[in-house]
Every structure is written in C-alpha cells, then in structure tokens.
C-alpha cells in the first residue's frame, strides 16, 4: 500500500507530533517523579502523584497509542515497509514494548494516586509515596524513546532477509 503524497505527509506529521509529544510527556513525568521523591512538603508530594496519574491516562497513553498507530500507517504506506528495514523493526519493537509497559504501569500509578488522595491519620508523607519506581520507569521510558528518535532520524542501513526477498521480487518484475 502506498499512500498519496498529501496523505503521507499528514501521516508523517501526526506520527512526529504524537511521538515527540510522548517524549515530552515522559520528561514531564520524570520531573514530577523527581519532585515526588525529593520534596519534603506533603501536599506537594500528594499533588505530584495525582498529577502523574492524570498525565498518564490523558497524555501518555493516548500519545503512545497514537504514535504506534501512526507509525504503522506511515511504514505500511511508504516504501520503507514494516519489516523490510531493521531500524523500522527496532522502532516498532520499542514502541510496542514501551506502550505495553506503560499500560501495565498505569495500575501502579493508579495505586499511588489512591494513596495520595486519602488523608493519613498519622502526619507526614506516606511511605508508599517515597517509591523510586516512577522515577526509574520514567528514566527507562526516556531512554527507549530517545533510541527510537535517533533511529528515526539516522535511519541506519540494513535490510532484513524479508526485505531483501521483496526487493529481489520487485527487481525481477
């Protein structure tokens, strides 16, 4: 399937916007996670975890799914294909893995938000809200998305065996 130039540009634009937006939202989550881990103010820490949950459901999840969907359209609708070039395959694997981990991790963020929303009988920041888990997940997500971005920009050479067969078929016609 080859998209028309106008449609391909639109698909590329939405893919870049959703992917870069996802990256930016991960950086925001990382900053919030850092604030939640280091702040000594209880209200700030609670607010951070409530904000992280909202950013997760309303920004990270939609952008990750949009990035995955538009990436599929973009690759299948162009000469790059989905499984012809190693960099596209790696980008697909990164996108799928990051989206799955994000969807699973939203349960953890939901849990943290529930803890943050309930007032404690004892004063101080609840132990549960001192977890390094959000920071670790944000850093790992950032690394993955940076690798995906570098792959998309540099497009390192390398054709998969599937891609070589398709290329040979096209040349044989």
């Amino acid at each position: 399937v080859t998209l028309k130039p106008g449609t391909r540009k639109l698909a590329l634009t939405t893919h870049v916007v959703s992917s870069v937006g996802w990256l930016g939202a991960v950086v925001t989550s990382l900053a919030l996670a850092l604030a939640g881990l280091t702040s000594e103010d209880e209200d700030t820490v609670r607010a951070v975890y409530l904000a992280m949950e909202s950013i997760g459901w309303f920004v990270l999840v939609p952008l990750s799914l949009a990035s995955l969907l538009t990436g599929l359209v973009q690759s299948l609708g162009s000469a790059w294909g989905l499984f012809r070039h190693y960099w596209v395959v790696y980008k697909l694997l990164i996108n799928v893995a990051a989206t799955i981990v994000l969807l699973l991790y939203m349960q953890t963020l939901d849990h943290f938000a529930r803890v943050a929303a309930v007032a404690s009988a004892s004063p101080g920041i609840p132990d549960a809200l001192r977890s390094p888990s959000p920071l670790i997940h944000s850093v790992l997500a950032l690394l993955l998305l940076l690798v995906a971005t570098v792959l998309a920009v540099y497009k390192p050479r390398g054709v998969t065996p599937w891609g070589q067969r398709r290329l040979a078929q096209q040349r044989g016609r």
Binding site: Y90, F112, P156
Partner: protein
C-alpha cells in the same frame, strides 16, 4: 520516513549495529524476566507493606489483585 530507502547501498548480511542492538535488547529482556521471577515481584506491592490505601498509618499496599497483568483497565 520521508526520503525513499536507499536499499542499493545496503551491505549484504546483518549490519553490526543490528547485532549490537539485538544483544542489548536480549540482555535487557533477560534482566527484566529475572527481576520478575526472583526480584520479589513487580508493581505497587513491591514497594510497600500489605495494607490498603485507606490504611490509617499511611503504610499502604496494593489493593487485592493489583499487580502487573491483573485487572488491566
């Protein structure tokens, strides 16, 4: 994905960067699986005790069944 792929210039065989990335990915997956199996679990329950979010002491744990892979919304 704007420029057309330059497949003519691709060398035969698997490029070195693909192998390096593959090894790194395999190591990450093995470490992740190892942590899941032997690292005391994964998810909110790993970081705190066993009480619910309404625990008066604030030492909270996950609600029943809230671990990765369960009760997925």
């Amino acid at each position: 994905m704007v420029e057309p792929p330059n497949t003519d210039a691709s060398p035969a065989g698997t490029p070195r960067w693909v192998k390096v990335f593959g090894v790194i990915a395999a190591v990450v997956v093995v470490v992740f699986v190892f942590l899941l199996l032997f690292g005391g679990g994964h998810g909110p329950g790993r970081h705190e005790g066993g009480a619910g979010p309404e625990s008066p002491a604030g030492h909270t744990g996950p609600p029943p069944g809230v671990e990765h892979g369960e009760n997925q919304p």
